[in-house]
Every structure is written in structure tokens, then in C-alpha cells.
Amino acid sequence: MSLADIKHPILYSAMSLVAYNINNMYYAEKHYLWCTPYFGSDYQSPHYTVPPSSSPFEIYKLYRGEALSADKHGYKIEQNRLGIKKGAIQMHARGVITESKLREINYIADETEKSQFRPILCVISRLEAVPHYKKVDIRDKANPLSHEYIVADLPQSAFDVISVG
């Protein structure tokens, strides 16, 4: 089901503060987000069929646990470092950033302290996101409650940032 066809007014997405700042500083405040119309506060509910690893609330808690409590037993920040570097490579391939900026982002991803990877939660207007909607998973056709959407180049103006807990 397309993002344009669902009825939910709001989408949610969690990301690290480092990713947020890189998007703002290097990609002209354009954001690449995986989002769902479900916050995921109770992902064990039978009504919530997005996997736990895709729950914005669970992702938020993982970042918070690793960034703010110096949790040395997490993977989320290391995974995010790889994701930021992979994203920069693609932005360079698209001509959005120069080779020089690519090297800067690579350094930032590797060297920024864990505490800077604290989470932010994006609350996105679905209508604002629709023009930036890129893809829906195949399984979504079968299960209307398992929506995950990719929105690319989403401007800052399309969402609010909130903190939780």
C-alpha cells in the first residue's frame, strides 16, 4: 500500500543526533528516513506487525541506552557509523557532496564520541512525506499494519523533533 493511500496522519522515525547533524550540514537539511505510522510503544501487541528492529521507539531506546549510559554492549551506534558512511558514499555518487566532504563525513562517522549518538524522534506529517516517498516493502501489500516506508530528501520543514522519556 502506498504512503499516499494509508489514512494515518503521522509517521515516526528515530535517528541519531550525528546523522541528523550530518544531514543538516552536508545534505542541505534533507533527510533520508525509514518511517512507520506506528510509534511502536508496544511492539509485542498482535496489532503491531512491524519487526521490533523497525520500531521507532525501540530504535530510540537502543540509541539512548548506548549513547547516554555508556553501554558498551550495544551495536546500534556501530551500525549507525557504517550507515552514515554508506550514505555519504551514495551522496557523493549522486554528486551531492564532493570527495573532500565525503572524507570529512567518514571521519565524523568514525571519530564522533558515542554520547553524540543520542537519539532524536522525528514526527512527520504523512502528507508532507508523500512527495518524498520512495519505496514500500512487498509484504506491506499483504499486511496493512506492517508498513515501513522510505522517504528521501525530506526537508526539515516536514517534521518536528521530539524527545521521549
Binding site: 543538516n24 551500525q79 557509523r81 555518487a93 570529512e104 553524540q116 519505496k135 516493502d137 509484504r139 524527545s163
Partner: protein, 119 residues
């Protein structure tokens, strides 16, 4: 058993970073993939991985599973964390040299990170 460096040797930095990212994504989601019919290579088309990145991803996943002697879908939490952290550390070995200006620019960006106003 081959060393991971042997698998990655001679590959472009772009392919290695991409493959490490998707391998970590697979390992994180392996125990959910069949239930949720997820494709770990899902991304918008401008960000879609090349066939070489996909091939290298599976080679890395295969190497990890052989090393751990267990399928990624059966990893317990400590193993999952250890493996993804390791892949991240491998990725750091594929960094690039920065000029002085680039280094200063990156350090300024880190120092200048802002916490957005929250609602």
C-alpha cells in the same frame, strides 16, 4: 578458514563499506526476516546496492556464520552485538587520509553539532 581481510582485499572502499553495512543489517534482522519477508537490500533506488555489494555482503555473512559455527538467525544477543561491533571496526580500517583543511572541517562539524529544538 580465510581471514576477513582476505575476502575484502582488493575491493573498493565503496563496496566494502556498503557490504559491511548490509551484512550488519542482515545479522541484526536475521531472526525476523522470514516472518516479516524483509529484503535487507531495500533502499530507495538512488541508494540501492550494486550487484558486487550484494555479492560481497553474502560473502561476509557466510564468513561470519562459518566463524561462529552457527547461522546468523540463531545468534544470541551477545554474539549479535560482538559481530556487528566487529564489522564496524573492520569498516574503520577502510578510512581515507584527510588533508589538514578536511580534518579541521570535520572537527569543526563535530564540535558544532546542534541538538534540535524539541516540541
Amino acid at each position: 578458514m580465510r581471514d576477513l581481510a582476505e575476502i575484502l582485499n582488493g575491493k573498493s572502499r565503496e563496496d566494502v563499506v556498503g557490504a559491511l553495512y548490509y551484512a550488519a543489517r542482515y545479522i541484526k534482522q536475521a531472526n525476523h526476516l522470514s516472518k516479516y519477508e524483509k529484503d535487507i537490500f531495500d533502499d530507495d533506488e538512488k541508494s540501492a546496492p550494486s550487484p558486487e555489494v550484494k555479492r560481497l555482503t553474502w560473502e561476509i555473512v557466510g564468513w561470519v556464520e562459518e566463524k561462529e559455527a552457527i547461522r546468523a538467525s540463531d545468534f544470541d544477543s551477545p554474539t549479535l552485538v560482538r559481530v556487528i561491533v566487529y564489522l564496524g571496526q573492520v569498516g574503520k580500517q577502510f578510512g581515507t587520509e584527510l588533508s589538514t583543511d578536511e580534518l579541521l572541517g570535520a572537527q569543526a562539524a563535530i564540535a558544532g553539532m546542534k541538538i534540535p529544538a524539541t516540541r
